[in-house]
Structures are given as C-alpha cells and as structure tokens.
C-alpha cells in the first residue's frame, strides 16, 4: 500500500516521473509475480513485464484511488494470463498432447527459487493446486489485497460467487494441510 500519498504518486507517475512510477512498481510487482506464479508459474516474469507495459501505456488515462488502481493493474494482469493461455493452448495443440499444459505451477523451477522465499513459494504452489478459479479468487484477495467486489469484477463473476470460491478454496486447503500434516510438495 502506498497510502495517503497515492494520488500524488499516481499523478507524478502519469506525468512521467520515474521515481513515482518506481513506487507503484515496488508496491505491486511482488503481488503481480505471485499472482502469475499461481496462474502460470513458468512465465511469471514475462507476464509481469507485459502487464507493466500495459500499465505504462494506460497510466495517464487511469483515474481512481489506490484500490481501484490495484484492481485495474490486476485486470490487465488477468488479460495477460488469458492471452498467454490461449497462445500456449495453440502451441500445445500443435505440438503436444493437451495435458502437457495441465501443470501450471513449476515449484522446482530454480528461477522461482531465487524469486521468492521458500515459505512464500510453497504457499503459492499449494494454492496453485486448487481449482483455477478458487486459486485465483484466493490470490486476488490475499496477495493482491482486493475486496470481494473488485475481485468479482476482475473475474467477471458475482460477489457471492467469489465468496463461495474463496470459502471452498480455503476449506480445501485446510483439508490438504490437515491430512498431509505439512505443506506438501506439489508435483
């Protein structure tokens, strides 16, 4: 969170102020990477770059407070994920059996190791084992720090649906963690 400074920071960034933009980036980049880590781990960095490019391009048109800005950034992020999945699906359809794509998380990726603390990485890998919409709802709520309504808008679902997805996701995590005893290594 940037907090009370946010309007000034956003305004300055929109005018091309690099330091102000750096603050926006600093606040959101880790969250974006974690979101992408859950959605499509192997290309998290690329997706984050693409997202920022979209942010930079639209920055001078954006209007709103900090939560709205965050939601806007994650809306862009989500589009990047969907685009990437479409492209990947096309490639997979051409080159591999479709289930080659079914593993979105790559927890043993050495690049991922360097990117995050182990606990964070394992937690995200765990969340990534959930059904995709549950995982997304949880990450947008927990990592992106967005409220139910904004998450609902981003995911194109009703708030009640997001609540249910979150609830189910948590429950399922509790089940996993309960019988495994520890955060299981996925894959």
């Amino acid at each position: 969170m940037i907090g009370p400074d946010f309007p000034d920071v956003l305004g300055a960034a929109a005018r091309g102020d690099e330091e102000a933009f750096g603050r926006l980036w600093h606040d959101l980049q880790p969250r974006l990477l974690r979101y992408f880590r859950v959605a499509s781990a192997a290309v998290a960095d690329d997706l984050a770059s693409e997202t920022w490019l979209g942010v930079v391009r639209g920055l001078d048109r954006f209007q709103g407070n900090e939560p709205a800005f965050r939601a806007w950034v994650f809306t862009i992020a989500r589009h990047e994920v969907l685009d990437w999945r479409r492209r990947a699906a096309r490639r997979v359809a051409e080159h591999q059996p479709p289930d080659g794509l079914a593993d979105p998380a790559a927890p043993d990726d050495p690049a991922a190791d360097a990117m995050e603390r182990v606990a964070t990485r394992e937690a995200l890998a765990m969340v990534a084992t959930l059904p995709a919409d549950q995982a997304e709802a949880i990450v947008l709520r927990v990592v992106a720090g967005l409220g139910v309504d904004r998450v609902a808008a981003i995911m194109g679902k009703r708030p009640g649906t997001v609540r249910v997805l979150t609830h189910r996701g948590l429950r399922r995590l509790a089940e996993h963690l309960g019988d495994g005893g520890r955060v299981r290594k996925v894959v």
């Binding site: 305004g11 937690a123 955060v183």
Partner: protein, 294 residues
C-alpha cells in the same frame, strides 16, 4: 428433509464439521485480520499459508526495476509530445517548467509559420554563447540528415492515435501543414520552426538545454534534429537571427534541474494553471492557455 431439519442440521454442524467457516471468519482469514488465537484450529495451517503467500517481498521479487523503468521512460517519452500538445487535460498538474513549455509550444504550433508575430521577440542572438552552452561545437550539424517535412508529421501521429478526448482541439496541428512542403523543399516546415522558437524561448526562460529538452513536446524536435544534442544547432540554422537561442537569464528559476521529486505536493484536484504562472511567454502565454483544455 423439511425446513426444520435443515435448521437443526445447521445448528448441529460445528461439532460435525471442524472445517466449517462463517463468512466473517473467511473475510478475516483472507485479510490477515484474525489473531492466531481466534483462528479455528483446523485452519491454523491455512492461516500460516496465507500469511506466507502475502509475506513481505523478497529482494528477488524486486529485481528488474531498472528494466521496467527503461520501458517506462521509452513509452512516456514517446507519449509526452502527444500529451503536451493534444491532451493536456489528464495531466493538469505539471510542474511549472513543463507547464510553461506546453503553453509556449502550443503557441508556437498555433501560430506556426507566422513566426515572430505571436511568440514575441527574443532579444539579440547569442549564437556563440548558445553553441558553447549547448555543446553544439562538438556535434556539428550535418551529422544526421535532417528531414524537414515528414518528420514532424510522423511525430504527431502517435498523438492522434488513441486520443478520443474532445479536449484535444488540436490547435492548428502539424497535420494540417506538416506535409505541406514537398519532400525536397529546403525550407523546414513551419511546424519545426515553431518548435524551435518555443525551444529558444524555454531555453531563454532559464531552462537551459537539459531542462528545455525535458519538455515533452521537444522530443519531436529532437527527433527531427537527429538527437537532443543537435537541436541547438538545428534550430540555429532554422531561426531568423533575432530569434536564435540565447543564454538563460533566469538562472535560479531553471536551476532546479531534473529534480523529479516524487512527493510533488501539488493537490490532486487542482487545475491551477501554472504554479505562480510562467513568467516568460509574454503575450503568447495567456492567449493560448485555453487551448490546454483544463
């Protein structure tokens, strides 16, 4: 199962379902607002997991800022000309110097070929001094080919694209006269001339090269000239003697260099035209201000 059964089932639920969660608990788990003591035992590990997922960033996650900033720089530079010229509305809180440049440049573009008339006279040419200050001596003019006509037109295109703003009244914009002179015409387009005049004024107003070039609109000029460091020489050749670059006189005003302090204390809502108002730009400033579309 009747309704009565359902409600009694609900009441019995907790003992039989250790994983039951009410909405409030979900909300507080998700927002990290639940003290450990209040976390349902079955969710203790989940709470830890969520905390880990939302933990403070690691250095690795914050690598790569330089690359993003480079992209930011590239995109904003390309956009600045557009923003300054056609769409000032979304960015009303420019710092003084930039605001000045916008006004001046808008004036220059509007008056275009009618050079000296509206932009006012710049006192005697200080050509040598300008060359020295601007480092023009090193990079003599002919280094890069100067393409008079097409360059400014091309430069303005990105501006038009994606600009839906009705504010962008586009004060007599380059497009109308950019393509004017035939490609081989020796005389640069009036548009560039206007930019040179504006550049000279911003420069004289105390900005100096670095600051003057920082003004967005001059990026187009820099492109036409073949680089920021060639603008001075380029404009020297373009402007009539009495409008050439002259030494900054208002040193203290311009000496704020590139201090892009982020905590820009200007208030958000304020469309206050120019903090303290741009002192130079006599005449031209006022009449062009409405063009900013604030």
């Amino acid at each position: 199962m009747g309704p009565g059964d359902a409600s009694s089932a609900d009441m019995r639920r907790p003992p039989f379902d250790p994983l039951a969660l009410d909405d409030d608990t979900v909300e507080r788990l998700v927002t990290g607002d639940l003290p450990p003591a209040q976390v349902p035992p079955a969710y203790a590990r989940v709470a830890q997991l969520l905390a880990a997922a939302a933990a403070a960033p690691s250095p690795g996650e914050l690598a790569g800022q330089a690359r993003v900033l480079a992209e930011f720089r590239a995109v904003t530079r390309g956009r600045r000309f557009a923003t300054a010229t056609f769409r000032p509305a979304p960015a009303p809180r420019r710092r003084r110097r930039t605001g000045l440049a916008v006004v001046v440049v808008a004036g220059a573009l509007a008056t275009g070929g009618v050079a000296g008339a509206a932009t006012g006279h710049l006192p005697g040419p200080v050509r040598e001094a300008a060359r020295t200050v601007l480092g023009g001596a090193g990079g003599a003019a002919p280094a890069t080919p100067i393409r008079p006509g097409p360059a400014p037109a091309a430069a303005t295109h990105p501006a038009g694209a994606g600009d839906a703003g009705p504010h962008g009244s586009r004060p007599g914009v380059a497009t109308s006269r950019g393509p004017g002179p035939s490609a081989g015409a020796p005389a640069p387009s009036p548009n560039l001339k206007g930019l040179c005049q504006a550049y000279a004024k911003a420069y004289a107003a105390g900005a100096g090269q670095g600051a003057a070039m920082e003004a967005p609109a001059f990026q187009a000029l820099a492109r036409a000239a073949g680089g920021e460091d060639k603008v001075s020489v380029y404009c020297e050749d373009l402007l009539p003697g009495d409008q050439r670059l002259k030494e900054p006189k208002d040193k203290d005003a311009g000496s704020s260099e590139n201090t892009r302090n982020p905590g820009d204390p200007e208030s958000p809502g304020g469309g206050t035209p120019g903090q303290g108002g741009p002192p130079p730009a006599p005449g031209g400033g006022d009449q062009n201000r409405p063009g900013r579309g604030l």
